[in-house]
């Protein structure tokens, strides 16, 4: 494939959904079937293009494979701000994932959203999202990345708030956008730091400059800690990922985002958009200093564990999946943080398939049951066999049951953690937490399966109406289940996606210096280390443990979940309330902020304006005595004058307006003062 062909295809992949969006937003209502075919055609064509690129990548199987295309966007001063596309192995894989999931979700939505009054609009937004996400994947510089980053947020806002006439989705959409904005500001600060230091946005140029050691100096934070610019930039950029990939402490929006239609949850809040943060960290990997990576690793670790525990008590099927997503994203981030570059991205890819499958499966359940509450389900495996089977497969993949795809990727992450822990002993807890997390994952996922598909129906009315979903829903499930099983086979991913070395970007002479400056190199937790074996065993053990516990509690009901909850009320309450994070934000940020604004507004009205008004009033007061002003000023002077100097005070007893004689007195007195003053001064 030639360079220009690859770029043309990439451009086509990118722009087709945009075209679909434009057509849909303006003409959707007039088109037959609400124009869903426009969007579907576009995304399928994009998928074809993506596959075309991926095939090329697969056939080459060279980590260094890639094409770049840049053009001048605009010029400020002498700076040419460039944007462009970058195609390499990671991009190729991501393109297929995004287009694949997106295409399936499109198909799924034709059934799921059937009959919705805003049906055409939904497809428009889906197209917009696909466009943004593809742009995010394809962009070759930070500024462009940021643009698509925000656009993705926008489409997410529209899609979460799709049923905006209900208050909850509208709230959730707003929350998602704002929480993301907070992270994005960090992201943007990171971009600013890099641009200020390097004067460029392009990945390649930035890496080259970093490799050449051009980022120097450090920033003093509040005069307490000195942090190297590069580390600071890394952490700031990571803030963006914290927002988008729902990492602690900005994860709060993702569970709420489940208010959106289920296909949206599958596409955006499981498979693609939330993975953007992980993708970004991977994309900018050479930038991150070891210090920054430690921050990343621990953020991921905390998120993984913490979201997993919340999922245990959740009863809403989609929320369980949402917390599971948060937790899995934590895994990916942690993987990247500990140096498992390949592992993190690998898990991203596999997770996309099985989590999309789970969400769509849950959507299928919701579609037929019109409820999201697991306590109202039960025994559905007979009514919805396809849904059950595909979800089971996906769950197993998620838990890391060999030889499904999740097994390989999760295992790789655990291995990376272990290896990193072995190299740096004080970071060994990362591995244990990760392993524990794996057990928790298995526990709550099987809890979901058991509660939903096994046992006796708990709500017979709903159960009776339940039915298997139509082909439009089932078909994507099957495809996704298939991919969940097989995506990890063959080791192709490890071969194609290898950790980029910063040194490779450096001019020869700088390479050594750069490496020296970069401190501890993170090892890549590969298959070939002994750590892998231990990690695999740990992982299998965790799966077994989790499954066992879940089986006992929710299938056999040998251990009563309620009893457990009663036994550990505090723990239960904290978990049930999601560690009170939302309440914490509300109390600490939202309420004070609102109060502050109120105060400011009053301040503006009362004080600033008040001062001005006061000045005005003072002027008016001055003008109120305007008639008298001559007299009161004159009055004082005249009295003083009359009493002490000219001894005419007895006559000038009072000043009244309109009395000509007093005018004269005033005039004379002042004249005398002038004469005296002047003769004294000069």
């Amino acid at each position: 494939m030639t360079h220009s062909l690859a770029i043309d295809v990439a451009l086509l992949v990118l722009l087709l959904p945009l075209a679909a969006f434009v057509i849909q937003i303006f003409r959707g209502r007039q088109l037959p079937r609400g124009g869903d075919w426009v969007s579907i055609t576009a995304i399928v064509l994009s998928l074809v293009g993506s596959c075309f690129i991926a095939r090329e990548a697969l056939s080459v199987r060279n980590p260094g494979w890639g094409y770049r295309w840049v053009f001048d966007w605009f010029t400020v001063g002498a700076n040419h701000i460039q944007v462009g596309l970058l195609i390499d192995n990671v991009t190729a894989v991501m393109l297929v994932v995004v287009c694949g999931v997106s295409a399936l979700v499109h198909v799924y939505s034709t059934s799921y959203m059937h009959g919705d009054p805003k049906y055409p609009r939904f497809f428009a937004y889906l197209s917009l999202f696909s466009f943004s996400m593809l742009g995010l994947v394809l962009s070759d510089n930070l500024l462009f990345l940021y643009c698509f980053w925000e656009l993705v947020g926008l489409s997410s806002y529209f899609l979460i708030g799709f049923w905006s006439e209900k208050p909850a989705p509208a709230d959730a959409a707003k929350k998602a956008f704002l929480t993301n904005r907070v992270g994005d500001v960090g992201f943007f600060l990171g971009i600013m730091i890099l641009w200020t230091q390097l004067g460029t946005f392009g990945y390649h140029d930035v890496f080259a400059a970093v490799a050449a050691g051009k980022v120097t100096g450090s920033a003093s934070l509040l005069g307490l800690v000195d942090v190297g610019w590069l580390t600071l930039a890394g952490v700031c950029l990571f803030c963006g990922a914290v927002g988008k990939s729902a990492q602690f402490p900005l994860h709060v929006w993702l569970p709420d985002a489940m208010e959106g239609p289920t296909p949206v949850s599958a596409l955006i809040h499981a498979a693609t958009m939330v993975a953007a943060g992980v993708y970004m960290v991977g994309r900018l990997y050479p930038l991150f200093t070891p210090e920054a990576l430690i921050v990343i690793a621990y953020t991921g670790c905390i998120t993984a564990f913490f979201a997993g525990t919340i999922a245990i008590t959740a009863t809403d099927i989609k929320r369980v999946l949402a917390y599971s997503t948060v937790s899995q994203l934590g895994y990916m981030v942690m993987g990247l943080g500990v140096g498992g570059y390949t592992a993190g991205l690998f898990h991203l890819m596999t997770h996309a398939w099985f989590k999309a499958c789970l969400f769509l499966g849950s959507g299928s359940v919701i579609h037929s049951l019109h409820s999201q509450e697991m306590p109202e389900m039960g025994g559905l495996r007979k009514k919805m066999p396809w849904t059950f089977l595909t979800m089971l497969v996906a769950t197993m993949a998620l838990c890391g049951v060999p030889p499904l795809s999740g097994f390989f990727s999760k295992d790789a992450i655990l291995a990376a953690c272990l290896q990193f822990g072995l190299e740096h002993k004080r970071h060994l807890p990362l591995f244990f937490v990760a392993a524990a997390g794996a057990a928790i994952t298995t526990f709550y996922m099987f809890r979901l399966i058991f509660l939903t598909f096994f046992g006796q129906p708990r709500d017979h009315h709903k159960y009776d109406h339940a039915h298997e979903s139509p082909a439009g829903i089932v078909l994507p499930l099957v495809i996704l289940a298939g991919l969940s099983v097989s995506a990890g086979w063959g080791g192709w991913f490890e071969e194609m996606v290898q950790k980029p070395s910063l040194a490779s970007y450096a001019p020869a002479s700088h390479a050594a210096a750069a490496l020296a400056g970069h401190g501890v190199e993170h090892g890549d937790g590969g298959h070939h280390s002994s750590a892998h074996t231990i990690a695999m065993l740990a992982s299998l053990l965790a799966v077994a443990l989790g499954f066992g516990l879940s089986f006992l509690m929710y299938y056999k009901q040998a251990i009563s979940a309620d009893a457990m909850a009663e036994r550990f009320p505090t723990v239960y309450r904290w978990l049930k309330n999601k560690y009170y994070i939302d309440e914490f934000y509300d109390a600490l940020i939202v309420r004070p902020l609102l109060a502050f604004e109120e105060w400011l507004a009053r301040f503006d009205l009362g004080v600033i304006d008040g001062i001005v008004n006061w000045i005005a009033r003072a002027t008016v007061v001055v003008s109120d005595i305007a008639g008298r002003i001559d007299f009161y000023i004159v009055d004082g002077l005249v009295n003083w004058f009359g009493d002490s100097v000219l001894d005419i005070g007895q006559q000038v007893r009072r000043i009244q307006m309109g009395r000509i004689q007093e005018y004269l007195v005033a005039a004379f007195a002042l004249t005398l003062i002038f004469v005296l003053t002047l003769s004294l001064v000069y």
Partner: protein
């Protein structure tokens, strides 16, 4: 310089004005009591006088200054320019009064004669080159104006105005006369030309001695120009006098006082060239600042348009005094220009007040609402005049302010400039109060009943407002004339 007793032809404008008085009296005696007819006559006289003033202004001999009556009078561009100013304002006053309900028809002839008497006094004052002549013409102007102020017989307020005016005026002119007498003693001559020669040669023992006489003279001038602290009479008198008279006072007599002040300070004592009296500038600057501040602050809360414009006139005296205070050519030119701008503007504004008073017998701002709707032309002209009074471009008032501020800043009186600027902002408030009533409020029901504005007033208003705009855009010619005048004043 043509120095001769026989240059009386250069006083043609004065003769014509005096002649008009005689003609008016005669024709009245011969039975012409019709106001319209008499007005035609006096307008004819004034226009002719105006014509000859303009002609003499350009006369080469006049540019070289013509001395008349053995140095008693001098006709030069400075005096002629002022005469033009006086004549225009008198013309306006005559036209106002011709249609005014305040001046009764039968007594209109007398009124007009006094008006022309004031004018001739002012014209002689502008030409005076001798302290004796100064006093004579000053009194000629004053005495007639006292009568004018108290003209409306039926209204006690008018009587009171006249009474206050004469009282304050008599005292002030007495003080001024005492000052003049001292000046005479100190400088050893009554002839201002001679004085100028002596001051230029610094032949005085000690100019510091002039402190007292000059201050005493300022009292008289201060009362005429109405600057602080000799302005107290002004609001009362302006309010009580018939409106045409008020308009005339606020422009004509003020200008006359300024003419004398400029001639005295620059033409006679040559303060622009000698630093002999260092306090004069500072004193004037202080007075200027006080005058406009007091005037503007007092105007802020006035509900009576006439009284508001009276205070506004005081404030404007302050601005003009700013130009005098710098005591140089630039300042004097600025004052002259400002005077012209102010004349058109203030007369224009007063025309509207007079016209509305004729229709509604009201001077209260709050009663004259919605005029913008009822009388679009007059209201637009009023708006332009008020903007010009505030000093906003593109009006003549702005250019006047520009010249004054330029002179002040050039001289380095920054504080004065700042005070002036702040005052400009303050003044906006009360001028806009009128605009608010005219435009932002609906007309009152009883106002709708009044008939249309007489065509003559519309023409008068428009013809006074058009120059305000024209001199706001193409003013360079007028400025040249002011320059010529001032250079004739100070060249020795």
């Amino acid at each position: 310089m043509r120095a001769s007793l026989l240059n009386l032809d250069y006083l043609l404008p004065e003769w014509i004005v005096c002649g008009t008085i005689l003609v008016l009296i005669l024709s009245y005696l011969l039975g012409t009591t019709d106001r319209r007819r008499l007005a035609d006559l006096s307008v004819l006289g004034l226009v002719t006088a105006l014509f000859f003033s303009v002609v003499t202004f350009f006369e080469p001999a006049v540019v070289g200054r013509v001395s008349i009556g053995n140095g008693l009078l001098q006709v030069d561009p400075f005096s002629q320019l002022f005469k033009i100013l006086f004549l225009v304002s008198t013309l306006a006053a005559v036209l106002y009064s011709a249609g005014s309900v305040e001046i009764h028809g039968k007594r209109w002839m007398e009124f007009n004669c006094f008006l022309l008497g004031v004018t001739s006094g002012m014209m002689f004052l502008a030409s005076s080159m001798n302290l004796m002549m100064v006093y004579l013409s000053f009194e000629m102007m004053s005495l007639s104006s006292y009568v004018l102020a108290g003209y409306t017989r039926g209204d006690p307020r008018s009587t009171e105005a006249g009474y206050k005016y004469v009282l304050f005026g008599a005292v002030s002119s007495g003080v001024m006369l005492f000052g003049l007498s001292l000046m005479y003693g100190l400088l050893g001559t009554l002839d201002m030309g001679l004085m100028a020669q002596r001051t230029a040669l610094a032949q005085f023992p000690d100019l510091h001695l002039l402190l007292l006489p000059l201050t005493l003279v300022f009292v008289g001038l201060g009362y005429k120009i109405a600057f602080f602290p000799f302005h107290y009479w002004a609001p009362d008198v302006y309010e009580g006098s018939p409106t045409p008279v008020t308009a005339f006072f606020s422009v004509g007599t003020k200008a006359a006082g300024l003419a004398l002040l400029l001639r005295l300070l620059l033409g006679t004592l040559s303060l622009d060239q000698t630093q002999a009296i260092p306090w004069a500038g500072d004193l004037l600057a202080f007075l200027a600042a006080m005058t406009m501040t007091v005037g503007n602050l007092a105007a802020l809360n006035q509900a009576n348009i006439k009284r508001m414009l009276a205070y506004s006139a005081i404030a404007h005296a302050g601005y003009m005094l700013m130009g005098v205070a710098v005591l140089n050519v630039a300042g004097a030119e600025a004052v002259l220009f400002y005077l012209f701008a102010y004349m058109f503007t203030n007369l224009g504004a007063f025309t509207v007040v007079v016209a509305l008073f004729n229709l509604y017998q009201s001077e209260q701002v709050d009663e004259l609402t919605g005029m913008g709707k009822l009388f679009p032309l007059a209201s637009v002209c009023m708006a332009i005049c008020l903007f010009s009074l505030t000093g906003l471009p593109p009006t003549a008032g702005f250019i006047g302010k520009f010249y004054v501020f330029a002179a002040v800043i050039q001289k380095g009186y920054f504080v004065l400039a700042l005070v002036g600027a702040i005052n400009t902002a303050i003044s906006l408030f009360y001028y806009m109060r009128i605009m608010k009533a005219f435009y932002f409020r609906e007309p009152k029901a009883e106002m709708l009943a009044a008939g249309p504005m007489p065509c003559g007033y519309n023409v008068l208003i428009a013809s006074l407002t058009v120059p305000v705009l024209i001199f706001g855009i193409c003013w360079s010619r007028l400025y040249e004339y002011c320059s010529t005048s001032i250079s004739s004043l100070i060249a020795h």
